[in-house]
Amino acid sequence: MFELPSGAEIQSIIASLKLSVEFFIPEIYLSLLFMLLIVVDLVAKGKKNNLLSITTLLGLAGTMYFIFRQQSMPAGELFFGMYVLDEFAIFFKYFFVLSGILAVIITMADEQFESEVKSMGEYYALVVAMVIGMIMMASSADMMMIFLSMELVSFSAFILTGYFKRNPRSSEAALKYLVYGGVSSGLMVYGFSLIYGLTAETNLINISSALSQHGYDPVVLILATLLVLAGFGYKIGAVPFHFWAPDVYEGAPTPVTAYLSVASKAAGFALLMRFFYIAVPHGGPVYEDIIGINWVSLLIIISVASMIYGNVVALWQKNVKRLLAYSSIAHAGYLLLGIIVMDAFGTQATLLYLLSYFLMNFGAFYVVILIANKTGSENLEDYRGLGKKMPLAGAALTVFLISLVGLPPTFGFIGKLMIFSALLTKGSLYLWLALIGIMTSVISLYYYMLIPLNMYLRESPSSEQKNMNPGLLPNIIMAALMFLTIYFGLFFQPLADFAKYGSTLFGLKH
């Protein structure tokens, strides 16, 4: 049934692989960094010093150079259509490397690691592994590559979530993450197998052409799409695949929570956009099928449910990490709005929103960590009176929360503005979606502002005087993040251009 390739064919396969490797250098470099970190850990013998974290920081910063060099390379498919290099992928490569760097920086600030674990061991290596996986997720052009890269990210994330292995909450979070992750990726692979059955192809671009040339059974395709959405929806933490999110975000070490809520979610969105824009058909007569639903209506349902559920349930949260978990579910809903628009402007808006979410969410978690270092708690009630004791942290957290609500003059406002204007360019079709988005943002104002309310207007129950200064370096980083959140709210043009640059997908037919 299958014939062995001849010698000449093998030669041409090897030549093609050699050609592709030139376009794969950032990933190879990161894999080497991953191995280097394991060796450094062996040499340092688990001692707690900054050797590992500094190596990771420098290594990740070095990746930027290789990604920059890729900007001048032509967009195209590599490794027999397994992988693509395009502007969209390059945008996300920068995004993930930067989030890896920030994850390392906020891990260095977290004092909980001192008490919970004996050594940092593989922690930084796993952070780098997650960066590799996420970069591959954003660049995959084949269902097999999508599955493999997604599992690389998931497995690293499971271990990072349970990194405090003597802490019951951290272990419980890891178990829940694992079970939900296993089920949803299993469903996703089942969906892939149905698509493979429909088209006999695994490459996204070939799937698209096979579907349009040979036609398909709409019921099977919508079932397969729904199953695939289970996998992607789990990664982005959207309703109804969100059940893991609150427990995992609360139980995981806080830097891991920040990393998961920003980077892993962005990777899910990258996959979602590439898969749905390129592989599954949209528009055209075949698409208006008998059952009357398609993947856009599925995404609309998920998006509306996420915005409403995330914002409403967040109202009665008492733990700040859990509150931010529900807020991240709501933000998945806003980000989906940009994908529903389904044009270059919508993609640009989604990418810009991801950039703003990156700054404000990492900033908020950074302040939460600095506060927890001093008070040992993440409960809303323990934030009372902190505004006077930690003035800079209070101001910074307020700015990040205003940005999360989406009020001017912050970057979060620009992100929401872009998403809603992308919706409104489609005329009155999506007006109601924009209205739901705006109304749920108003609901979110209440629970976000509970935190500054506790910090500034309520008195702390204990009047003991304690040194609450987080230190010089954390103060500088916090102030820088706060400054950037406001700066990009006023001068957003460079980032909007960058997002526009990133909105070009290889193989997309408009």
Binding site: L148, R169, V183, V189, S193, Q317
Partner: protein, 105 residues
């Protein structure tokens, strides 16, 4: 024996659909974390049967390659899952997923 229907694509797809159903059932109803993970394996193997059956009847190698990778990933997942479950057992003295629920709204 000639009155029996020869085995075709539909037979494979039926078995895989049943496996998927059993897997989901195990994940949703069982309390023991190990059995839940067995349910996850059933789901992955349902997809494997699909891939190999489609590959046989479509005549391509893509599905066979995919199923090989799914097997590898399933093994890696089992290793990580067991490590986490053992750690859970050390802390909670139980692997009952309904009793491991310390975080509440």
């Amino acid at each position: 024996m000639e009155h029996l229907v020869p085995i075709g694509l539909n037979h494979y797809l039926t078995i895989s659909a049943f496996l998927l159903g059993f897997g989901l059932f195990a994940v949703m109803t069982r309390k023991n974390a190990i059995v839940v993970l067995m349910g996850v394996e059933l789901i992955l193997n349902a997809a494997n049967i699909n891939f190999i059956a489609f590959s046989k009847y479509n005549g391509g190698m893509g599905g066979i390659m995919f199923s090989l990778f799914v097997i590898v990933i399933a093994a890696a997942e089992a290793a990580i899952a067991l490590a986490i479950v053992i750690n859970i057992f050390k802390i909670f003295k139980s692997v009952d997923v309904s009793s491991i629920d310390s975080m509440k709204e």
